[in-house]
Subunit: 532 residues, 2 copies
């Protein structure tokens, strides 16, 4: 991990980014898609050229030891990584910048900040790695209600406090980034094995607060299942749950805070269930005549109780875009792994399920196959993808993803409906065809988690509205067809209108009441999940 | 399933019960344990001899179509199946009988009942199969706060409404009993495969409301994981969550209601994840030199990611009591099963883990071994056990169980401490030694769920106080040593003092606020989990 600071605009740290080759490959791909050999370019303003609104609140003396209102800090904490936020960054619009940024070093610092925020009517926005794609970290608040907003960056909570090898668990501070976490576990032969796409620039606390989806495509998909206990600071005090492998004592307290997106408290550490590092592997890409055939194979594998570590499928276009295939076949990335025992038998049975739906494996030598061929190419593209948007957006390309989940009985009609609605919206909004692809990132015995990607050619000056219109059409379609507004990207501020339809109104009443009990001044991440 | 009504005292339906042979075997066992050849007997009064307090509230005309204040109904809804309740039944003490019993047929009936209860200051106690062992269904309420109490029996919500074979899910009404549920799924080749010990006399709604623990000893142990969506009636209206295989949209709404023990609403139906019926099996009892060696093997199997369907261990005394072994060895009941593929390889690997800790399997022919030998004897004893207490209690025998969970790093000292504290309490309270045994009912990669059984010779006239003193000592010990007050028996009213220590105080504040939002009059199961 580089020691450089995070970029204020774009993905990763200063000095990192897409290579020239990656950029020109993307240019070529979009050129072909939209029939253009040239894109009108717009560049984002450099940091020094940004004009931020003057802070509306000043840092109180008692907090000055860990707070700053410096330009970089405010700019780098204005936005997450959603398309809409990236557009506003491109335009140099930092109207929603936090008034200052706090970097607490202790729970007492956080409590002091909360006390002050409550008395000063200032909103607090918890910030981990800033990789939210749903407006979860942007201080987009009601200025008639709040006198200001402070971004609360957890980066100093970056250690592993204890490792219990006997129970295979570790006590990990919430602000630690993915790579540092894994680096500390590795000498012990352990791994959290939770690798969201944002892994390099997201934190344990962020994963828990947003119910992030990780490496495993089946069984333990969400961070939820890996949490053994939690510790949070709330405006009313500390909450710490017991370290327990399981319990039946009332509603699970951890589950109220997992996915609470910073509105109930700030997670400071958690005991996490960790794994031995895998030693046995088998994997292959499997080619299918079409996406629905591949989906049937996924269903068969899941309902067989086989639990592959990876069982993702790409539709033919998605496979072509990422170099995993030629565009004529759908591809399944299938892999089993174990720290304890050989997995070839499970792999062979999964391949039989694939064969039932005309799936043909790419490799016949099973071990380590998961990193070769189509699977390896897709994996590499997946990891590099986030670096490209800060370039493609300069060309006016609107590209975004959205993910959901649906039961198997409704999957095909659901997929067709959502894809068609998004394609129609792209045509209507931009005046030309775009592209909508789909893959499964995770799958369950009772249904898959389809993940859609879309590409459209927007117009500089209208990118934000165009993106919003496409996003709205897609979200309307998937909610109307019975899906969830998010499988693992969270709700934030951007998904509120659809989340409000999805979750029962009386659950919102209960959540609002719970928030009122823990955060009576309503200072924690207002506008996320519920209105304060 | 017999069509007879449930007994008002004891386990099961009228006409069922322990055989003479079972009763005399128990008499012999306790005679040996306590060195007695004769027990002073006390018999419970028959139904006709009971004197119930006159109803404090009368059934309003609008609800009279589904409510009754008949003697049988009130008596049969006074108690669950805890030892303390059984003692009071033995004594003919029905002071806490509900004023009447409601048998709603529709959600509208439930809403009407809730509306009336709110306006009349009457407590409503949801009732499924009445198998609570924690005082969860007893109308033990504060009479200065409530003018009366009504037991709300869900027995008419007893159908499967829909089966989705594609997604392997079923929409099941909450009042259905275990055997009826399985009978309706069987023709479809499906099973919920959730078999708590109370299976025959407990309901889906009860399982969900109390986070019941089922058949599977690993992986899907609690009912929690099998719930796809829920529907509840609350005093503020209906809550229905979406059918989704997974979601990351805010805190999981189902998880607030799973384990809510009737204080937030009454579950009327749920979409449940069901399984294909298993076709492949392998299993065996495995004998170990001692309990801790067996525990180390359980840990190894779980951390190997093998997920046996059964992986329970009995300490030598428990194994002897249930006829599973001679009393010299600890016994593991180990079984794998699958609807899809052979499981011998997994079984062999698990037996290797056992061998590492000196575990010797009973059978070498693996298939169907799980129903033979020690494993089969233990299983039979397990299922018949609840029928015995209504006899042993007549002899003044205090026998009860309590279950918990703890991480592996603390297990041995935890077990020794809790066992010693319970044994000491028995000696102190009854003046003579008793017996405390332990088994694991469920296990996880990060820890086991130890399940303790104790036997003591009490004194008629003091049984309730003696039981309470022993229970208190055991509960104090396990909470002080870091365990949970319940792994799958729920909290109810009896576990409140220890639950109050276990759960974070601020979580109770949040839960209280959520209840206030859904049940502002505080009529639902007051005293359970939190004070209203």
């Amino acid at each position: 991990m580089s020691g450089n600071r995070l970029k204020h605009f774009g993905w990763g740290r200063e000095g990192e980014g897409a290579t020239e080759a990656e950029i020109s490959a993307a240019r070529k791909l979009y050129g072909q898609l939209f029939g253009l050999d040239h894109f009108p370019e717009q560049a984002p303003p450099p940091l020094e050229a940004l004009s931020l609104p003057p802070p509306r609140v000043t840092i109180p003396a008692s907090l000055s030891g860990f707070c700053t209102a410096a330009l970089y800090d405010r700019a780098a904490h204005t936005y997450g990584k959603s398309f809409g936020e990236t557009v506003r960054g491109l335009l140099g619009d930092y109207a929603s910048a936090p008034d200052f940024v706090a970097y607490p070093k202790t729970e007492a610092d956080i409590s002091a900040l909360m006390d002050w925020a409550g008395s000063a009517d200032v909103a607090l926005i918890p910030f981990g790695g800033g990789s939210s794609v749903v407006g979860g970290v942007e201080p987009r608040i009601d200025h008639t209600r709040y006198k200001g907003a402070v971004s609360l960056d957890m980066c100093h909570f970056n250690r592993i406090e204890a490792i219990d090898r006997t129970s295979r668990a570790a006590c990990i501070q919430a602000g630690i980034y993915g790579p540092a976490l894994e680096a500390e576990l590795r000498p012990h032969g352990l791994s959290l094995r939770h690798f969201p796409q944002s892994f390099a620039y997201s934190t344990l606390g962020g994963w828990i607060a947003t119910r992030s989806g990780g490496h495993f495509a089946t069984l333990f998909t969400h961070i939820d299942e890996l949490v053994e206990s939690l510790r949070l600071v709330t405006p009313k005090g500390i909450i710490e749950t017991r370290r327990l492998p399981a319990s039946g004592a009332g509603p699970n307290p951890d589950r109220l805070f997992i996915g609470s997106e910073g509105i109930l408290g700030v997670i400071t550490k958690a005991w996490m269930r960790v794994h031995h590092r895998p030693r046995f592997r088998a994997g292959s890409a499997v080619h299918f005549p079409d996406f629905y055939a591949a989906a049937l194979a996924v269903r068969a594998i899941l309902q067989a109780g086989l639990y592959p570590a990876n069982c993702r499928i790409l539709d033919p276009q998605e496979a072509a875009n990422t170099g995993a295939a030629e565009g004529k076949t759908a591809v399944m990335v299938l892999a089993f792994e174990s720290a304890d025992h050989p997995v070839e038998a499970a792999m062979r049975r999964a391949l039989e399920c694939c064969a039932d739906f005309h799936g043909t494996p790419e490799v016949t030598e099973l071990a380590e196959g998961h990193l070769a061929g189509a699977a390896g190419r897709w994996r590499e593209a997946f990891i590099r993808m986030p670096y490209l948007r800060e370039h493609t957006i300069r060309w006016g390309v609107i590209t975004d993803t959205f993910e959901t989940a649906i039961t198997w009985d409704r999957f095909e009609s659901f997929h067709a409906h959502v894809k068609a609605a998004t394609e129609a919206a792209i045509r209507e909004v931009t005046g030309r065809a775009g592209q909508v692809t789909c893959r499964f990132t995770h799958a369950y015995p009772d249904g898959p988690a389809p993940y859609f990607t879309f590409h459209a050619l927007g117009r500089h000056g209208a990118l934000l509205e165009q993106w919003q219109a496409i996003k709205r059409a897609a979200s309307d379609a998937l909610i109307a067809a019975g899906g969830t507004i998010t499988h693992h990207h969270a709700v934030g501020r951007d998904h509120r209108p659809w989340y409000d339809q999805e979750r029962p109104e009386l659950f919102a009443s209960a959540l609002r009441a719970a928030k009122q009990a823990l955060d009576p001044a309503g200072v924690l991440n207002p506008g996320v999940l519920i209105d304060p």
